[in-house]
């Protein structure tokens, strides 16, 4: 009966109730967005770095992956050393460079190219077509296709080492654009391609004669149950010319750098909760004030103080929960919109998201709002339950 009464009280002023629910929904949406933002980049970076299960990354001494043009020399030897370690399951070498797509008219368009081993690579996900598992096959991203007008299945010419005096390329090669992929670590809007490592090593070698033995990055996949930090330290002992970075450390470092995002989200989330609190509290106070006569009569008829208070609390709770559930939907829509705006920021990896939905975020937001609603309804509920019956009826009679 209390639920019926609470619901009927809310239905008494449908427009007011709807507006209040909308207000709570906006507050809940903002709260959800802030909760998603506070953890979204962390989750996104963690997912990015751990996506293919590479726990350790090796770069030229003192650099970060693709931070500079520096490369790891004698890559084959380094790879052998790594594979000899019992804790290492696999090694994925990556060579990054800029190649050019040469048109029939001699025009050239730059494309960032990764030399990879298709069987053990973690840089892209093949979306359609065939992988770059033959010397002259190339996987490209959507931006590449859009910029060059090339289609999957076309054969193109790629070149490296332009000599300005001779106006020629030191290395040219006809390759088949065999597939389209999504490159995880490259920036949105950056034209990218992947070729077999040996092909790229040939093209970037001096005069294109013998393949280079350099890579930009070695990614290491460990055996199950291996302590990545211990392996990292071991690698740096064995290969002093490289910097080894454990993914867990990289994630920690990213999290530290993102702490201001969390602070911002915390402040804005608190503000949205406060708005929700004031909204529910004000509405319930007004609602109780309008119904003091009815409540005094209910008390006179034998309805207990706790039951009156529960009814008011229930009204606040219904208002908040309905608003919050609506707000979760609204929050997801706004988060998607904001995420698309922020992801367009230049230089960010395409796979990075600012707002990541996790069920935990929804539960947290809902939980915080429910607690807020209970607190917001507490004063009006206490007031409703404490009405002096005789005095209230007397004042109602003369009003």
């Amino acid at each position: 009966m209390r639920a019926t009464l609470a619901w009927s009280s809310l239905r008494r002023h449908p427009v007011r109730t709807a507006l209040a629910m909308l207000g709570v929904a906006v507050s809940a949406a903002m709260l959800l967005d802030m909760v998603m933002l506070s953890s979204g980049m962390q989750v996104s970076f963690r997912a990015l770095l751990t996506r293919q299960g590479f726990e350790v990354r090796l770069t030229p001494k003192g650099t970060l992956p693709f931070d500079t043009e520096a490369r790891i020399a004698r890559a084959a030897s380094a790879e052998s050393v790594l594979l000899a370690m019992p804790a290492v399951q696999a090694v994925s070498p990556v060579l990054g460079t800029t190649l050019h797509v040469v048109g029939d008219d001699g025009s050239a368009a730059a494309v960032f190219t990764l030399g990879i081993r298709p069987a053990i690579q973690g840089d892209y996900e093949l979306l359609r077509g065939l992988d770059a598992d033959a010397a002259d096959r190339m996987v490209v991203n959507a931006t590449f296709l859009a910029r060059t007008g090339v289609a999957v299945g076309d054969t193109i010419v790629v070149a490296a080492g332009y000599d300005a005096q001779l106006r020629s390329w030191t290395a040219r090669r006809r390759v088949l654009v065999s597939g389209e992929g999504r490159f995880h670590y490259l920036a949105t809007g950056q034209a990218a391609a992947a070729l077999p490592l040996s092909t790229v090593q040939f093209m970037v070698a001096d005069a294109g004669t013998a393949p280079s033995d350099e890579v930009s990055l070695l990614m290491v996949k460990t055996q199950p149950g291996v302590d990545a930090e211990a392996l990292r330290a071991g690698i740096e002992r064995e290969l002093p010319r490289v910097t080894a970075i454990a993914t867990a450390d990289a994630v920690k470092s990213v999290e530290q750098r993102l702490s201001y995002f969390r602070q911002l989200a915390l402040i804005l989330g608190t503000v949205s909760l406060a708005i929700g609190f004031l909204l529910v509290s004000t509405l319930m106070t007004v609602s109780v004030q309008e119904r003091v006569g009815e409540m005094a009569v209910m008390r006179a008829l034998g309805v207990s103080r706790p039951h009156i208070a529960q009814q008011v609390m229930l009204e606040g709770l219904v208002l908040s929960v309905v608003g919050a559930v609506g707000g979760l939907g609204l929050g997801l829509v706004t988060a998607t919109y904001l995420n698309n705006i922020l992801r367009a920021f230049p230089g960010l990896p395409a796979a990075i998201d600012f707002f990541v939905f996790e069920p935990r975020a929804a539960y947290q937001s809902l939980g915080m709002l429910v607690v807020t609603a209970v607190l917001a309804g507490a004063f009006p509920a206490w007031r409703a339950g404490s009405l002096p019956i005789a005095t209230t009826l007397r004042s109602e009679a003369v009003s």
């Binding site: 009966m1 019926t4 009464l5 009927s8 009280s9 239905r11 008494r12 006569g293 009815e294 009569v297 209910m298 008390r299 006179a300 008829l301 034998g302 309805v303 207990s304 103080r305 039951h307 019956i389 005789a390 009826l393 007397r394 109602e396 009679a397």
Partner: protein
């Protein structure tokens, strides 16, 4: 159908002893009820009348355990309701006292049937049982066809009849009514008065506070208050509904604002 836990006439149901109630109004004490001693017997139908501000409603609130006296006691069925804790008094009101108010105070978004069910739900009655009794009560007050209507869809008289049905929901020992015809026109007021008369004939003990001369005449007993004290306590004869007043009130005691003021000649 049982409308009350009546056990027969002649038995004292309610007794007040030297009852007093003082308020502090803007810092000044107001003595609303002063040393009232009154006995209401089982099955009685008493009207408390008097000028505005004479303490009638304050006395009714004390009788109904919705207010506490400054001094004195109220004994209902031998239990002192004047010093009960709030929780006990609430439970007592729920089980033993029915209230009817001038402004009806039905819950606007509930149907007539749901309004009548409200005290029974509070008392823990099963849904089916309370629904059945609510139908019976609505039928008793002549509104069996209006159970699904909300208060806004009912006339004032109908709303008051629903309020009376609500007051009878838990078969109270005592029905208290504060100006039950105050918001009704003469014709619908007469319907409500006739309903009270019928209720009393069916065994309900009724105490009504009123300015309505016709309602007071319908009561079997009229208690007149002035300045917080009872100045007369008269019994009407049977069948006085609509007839001339038989209560004798000393003109000297009647405030000029009283609706019972006698006109010369």
């Amino acid at each position: 159908m049982t409308v009350s836990h009546a056990t027969g006439g002649g038995v004292p149901l309610l007794r007040t002893e030297n009852l007093a109630r003082e308020y502090a109004l803007a810092g000044a004490p107001v003595r609303a009820v002063r040393g009232v001693s009154l006995t209401i017997e089982q099955g009685e139908y008493a009207a408390i009348v008097g000028p505005s501000g004479c303490g009638k409603s304050s006395l009714l609130n004390l009788l109904g355990a919705i207010d506490r006296p400054t001094s004195g006691t109220v004994l209902l069925r031998g239990r002192d309701v004047s010093h009960m804790r709030d929780r006990e008094a609430t439970e007592f009101r729920l089980r033993h006292i029915g209230f009817v108010f001038q402004r009806f105070y039905l819950m606007p978004m509930l149907t007539a049937l749901e309004n009548v069910e409200l005290p029974m739900a509070e008392a823990g009655a099963a849904k089916r049982a309370r629904r059945a009794r609510a139908r019976e009560l609505l039928s008793y007050v002549g509104l069996e066809a209006r159970g699904g209507h909300r208060p806004a869809q009912l006339s004032g008289g109908e709303q008051q009849r629903v309020a009376i049905a609500r007051a009878l929901a838990n078969e109270p020992a005592l029905l208290l009514a504060d100006e039950p015809t105050g918001e009704l026109d003469a014709r619908t007021g007469r319907d409500v008065i006739a309903l009270f008369d019928q209720l009393n004939r069916d065994g309900v003990t009724i105490v009504v506070v009123t300015h309505d001369e016709v309602l007071a005449r319908a009561a079997r007993r009229v208690v007149h208050m002035v300045d917080g004290v009872i100045v007369s306590d008269e019994r009407n004869g049977p069948g006085d509904v609509g007839g001339p007043p038989r209560t004798t009130i000393s003109p000297a005691l009647v405030d000029a604002a009283s609706p019972f003021r006698r006109t010369p000649g």
